[in-house]
């Protein structure tokens, strides 16, 4: 498309009003010229001959009359081999490349190609001349780290096309032509490994969407057993500051049983991203034995980086996630934090002088959040393979109050809710997920009966605890007191997990099922004690023994020994064991 011109008519914060002559489209990208700099901006409202544009960089120095170029394309990202293990900003500029060029700081007006043009990939064709293909069908593959990266027919291809030509096996760069397609009207189309896709448009090149049923194992007991997430599902993690949202996301990003992890660090502390940046390359992925970084893409728009690019960063991340899903892979997108993105929407809405909704968030907040989470899903691709995108977003509610609009809008659309509580984190009960408030609509890895029993013990135990604050221990019936101790026991040995312990820190689903079945027996047992002190001391010892068990690797002798000790302890006090 051709470049069309416009002129700046007004500036207010990140919002620039531009007068244009020829047609423009909503969400079209344009560059504001500021001397030699080109500042990227997006149309967000059109009124008569004026377009309101959000500028993704600082607007300092922009004058009335400055030239604007509309480029006729929506905000898009580059898709192709080489995305994995990279770190991008919200607009997909590779941060390491910028660091090499500019040192410590992020200059304005920098547009860098996301993927290196000079790197060559070993291409192997999978389609042949004469084949008929749909958008997203595989034309060939290249090896990207541990994955077979599919080179696909362009996602924007309309209808069925015929493969006119496919390149022979060999080395190509991402811009080299690797195939020629002929569409229904007979027009020929060159295809390279690199393709561009607008970030706000979901990639829909699949046969059908499936209901998410397979569990995404995170190796965190409280999640996998109590509040599971399915591959292709969605979940949110709201919590006040200091409750451990980011740490939880980091742990999930390490242990989750998926192929690719996309981390969108959106408007949060730079220091936390740095930890991931510096540690992931040296951490080993237990599934593959390779560096964790090889399966990770980081989109990083920290709180000091331009506010408007926060919105872009979550869409960039989800588009990259969808791209890898198209290869039949399981992708996990972690967005931290969606509240910062919502705040960016609020800022822009305020500048547009829209009528505000609750807490000045725009009225369309809910639909925007819903549309974002709806991009998660399990799909069957045209070739029958299944790929998934799972989305987990943290929410940072103002004042730690879950009634606020972002948390509430998110809860309506997600499949699981992992609410973090200040009380639990103050009591150092990690992960600080509140077991009574949280919920999940997905299936657990443990049998339903055992799980229902455990939930019952937790809620009953909580009731007893509340009651004891009034009537003291003496006024509590022995049976109730034992329920309370059982709930505390379950909390101490199963819900809490020591992230720093190499064994306890990551519990496989097999181990969880095994351990939980014994714990369920303990919770279900009728126990008799002489008095409350005896009961308390029994559970203290049992807690200690079970924690030792948690620290023993399953294949070690100490695991069986610890289990035997717990079973012996159980038969001491219960009649049914």
């Amino acid at each position: 498309m051709s470049l069309r011109a416009g002129r700046v008519k007004g500036v207010s914060g990140n919002l620039v009003t531009v007068e244009f002559d020829e047609a423009v489209s909503q969400n079209e990208v344009a560059y504001v010229r500021l001397g030699d700099l080109r500042l990227i901006a997006e149309v967000i409202r059109v009124r008569g001959r004026y377009a309101d544009m959000q500028v993704f960089e600082s607007t300092a120095g922009i004058r009335v009359g400055d030239a604007v170029e509309f480029i006729g394309e929506l905000l898009s990202v580059e898709l192709g081999p080489g995305l994995l293990s990279r770190v991008f900003d919200g607009l997909q500029n590779p941060l390491n490349v910028i660091a090499e060029r500019h040192g410590f700081f992020l200059p304005r007006g920098e547009q860098t190609e996301a993927l290196p043009r000079d790197q060559v990939w070993e291409f192997a064709p999978r389609a042949a001349a004469g084949d008929r293909v749909l958008a997203g069908d595989t034309l060939g593959v290249v090896a990207e780290g541990i994955f077979e990266h599919r080179v696909m027919a362009p996602f924007g291809l309309a209808g069925v096309a015929e493969v006119a030509e496919v390149a022979a096996a060999g080395e190509y760069t991402i811009t080299d032509r690797i195939a020629v397609l002929r569409d229904a009207s007979g027009e020929e189309l060159d295809v390279a490994m690199l393709q561009r896709w607008p970030v706000k448009r979901p990639i829909r090149c699949y046969a059908e969407r499936l209901r998410p049923t397979d569990q995404l194992v995170t190796k965190m007991r409280i999640l996998d057993t109590f509040f599971p997430v399915a591959k292709g599902g969605t979940y949110c993690v709201p919590g006040p500051f200091g409750a451990g949202k980011t740490v939880l996301q980091q742990l999930v990003s390490r242990h989750a049983d998926v192929d690719v992890v996309v981390i969108a660090a959106c408007g949060e502390r730079a220091g936390e991203v740095v930890e991931t940046l510096r540690e992931f390359p040296v951490l080993t992925d237990p599934r593959t034995g390779r560096s964790l970084m090889e399966r990770t893409v980081i989109i990083c728009n920290t709180s000091s980086m331009p506010v408007a690019a926060r919105e872009a960063s979550v869409y960039t991340a989800v588009t990259i996630a969808e791209y890898y899903r198209q290869m039949g892979l399981h992708v996990l997108l972690l967005a931290d934090s969606t509240s910062r993105w919502a705040q960016a929407l609020r800022e822009m809405s305020g500048r547009l002088e829209e009528i505000p909704g609750e807490e000045a968030f725009p009225a369309y907040l809910e639909s925007v959040i819903a549309a974002f989470y709806e991009r998660a899903g399990a799909v069957r691709l045209n070739d029958g393979t299944v790929g998934t995108v799972t989305i987990g977003g943290t929410v940072s509610p103002a004042g730690g109050d879950f009634e606020e609009p972002v948390t509430q809008s998110t809860l309506k659309v997600v499949g699981a809710f992992h609410g973090l509580s200040r009380q639990r984190s103050d009591a150092r009960r990690y992960p600080a997920i509140d077991p009574l408030e949280s919920w999940s609509k997905y299936g657990s890895i443990v049998p339903d009966g055992e799980l229902a029993l455990a939930r019952h013990v937790l809620s009953k135990g909580h009731e007893v605890q509340e009651m004891m604050k009034v009537v003291e221990e003496e006024g509590t019936a022995m049976a109730d007191f034992v329920v309370y101790l059982k709930a505390e026991y379950l909390d101490a040995v199963y819900l809490q997990q020591d992230a720093f312990d190499p064994v306890d820190g990551a519990s496989s689903s097999e181990r969880q099922r095994h351990v939980f079945s014994l714990i369920a027996r303990i919770l279900g047992a009728d126990m008799a004690f002489q008095d409350k002190d005896a009961a308390r001391s029994y559970f203290q010892t049992l807690t200690q023994a079970t924690r030792d068990w948690n620290r023993a690797a399953m294949e070690e002798d100490s695991f069986a020994a610890a289990q035997a000790r717990i079973e012996a302890m159980l038969s001491e006090v219960s009649s049914d064991a």
Partner: protein, 447 residues
Amino acid sequence: MRKVYQEISQIAGNVITVQATGVGNQELASVEAPGFSSLAQVIRIEGDNVTMQVFSGTRGVPTDAEVRFIGHEAQTPFSDDLLGRVFTGGGVPRDRGPALDEDLIPIVGPPVNPARRVIPRTMIRTGIPMIDVFNSLVESQKLPIFSVAGEPYNELLARIALNAEVDLIVLGGMGLKYDDYLFFRETLEEAGALSRAILYVHTAADPVVECLLVPDTCLAVAEKFALGGKRVLVLLTDMTNFADALKEVAVTMEQIPSTRGYPGDLYSQLAARYEKAVDFEGAGSVTVLAVTTMPGDDVTHPIPDNTGYITEGQFYLRNGRIEPFGSLSRLKQQVNARTRDDHRTIMNTMIQLYAGFRESQEKQSMGFRMSAWDDKLLKYGELFETRMMDLAVNIPLEEALDLGWWILAECFAPQETGIPTALVERFWPAEAGARGVETLAEAAPAE
């Protein structure tokens, strides 16, 4: 010759509008009239209408004041001559020294590339046990001190400024009482630390908009020194005044407020400042300590709430002490494994026992019978509070750890503390008892 505009079309609050062309967003302008002179900054342009916030307020501004656009954004002088000097938020000398107007640097620079940040590794010793032992301050950290009005937060900042092992101190005062400004200056002067300090002070009597410049100026200067290899500590007091100034301007600009009248971009505004804390690989660092007074002691108020989401922990100052509960240094794990082998154990054990003390204290106040264990805890809590938590205590980390062992030894048997045997054998004072504690107590202040 720059064009002079002499027709102000609108004055509202501290914001004026003139009709002008060729003006850049955020550009500075001078506003002059007989008996009035101030800088102003462009905050909105709509066609020919240019809206500016006037730094010294608009009181007395005539509609025919002369407005000249300067052609650049806010700048501040930077050189080694800054050391030992006191300026206003706008960089004008507050002391009798000469004005500096060369080597200007912009006060709002680009953000640091996250790919070039490093994981912080160096502890900053402050001589305050509640910080060094329990919540170590780390180079390049950003930490607020949450406090209610009336607490000695400025004294605490001054203490840290004097003790901290840094090359340079930049102090930013926002809405500072004049007395407090003098207190800072005199304290630094008496300790001979003024020569390595730069003060940017906006007092409570100064125009509100000027307050907005203080953090940016401080951080720009600090960043520049850090790039030159200096380890800089930036002290900001009080960020609540800064946020209130933001609110005032936003309301004048008729922006839609979000929570409790504060602008929707409060988080971004605060984060842009706090995130200037950085460790430059191969150069210096910027560490930020900022006071946030909590209106009504309410941590869910928008200012402390947004701050908590940005910073790497917080210190709660309550009843003249740094509260052990709630206070948190998120970066302490990066440094406290490499100080002394007993550091983490002392840190955890003393806090756990102190939590026990609080419970016993509660029981006592409700009139419950005290067990022998309760009595031990009560004694322990008392010793901990007077010998360690008191802000006047000023001892190096190692001595503070020793003091911790003595306090524990005076109150408990080793097995009651739950400390691993190996550490007890190495560190438990051989002649546990009152004598040792008394000797050490000399280091602590007299009650």
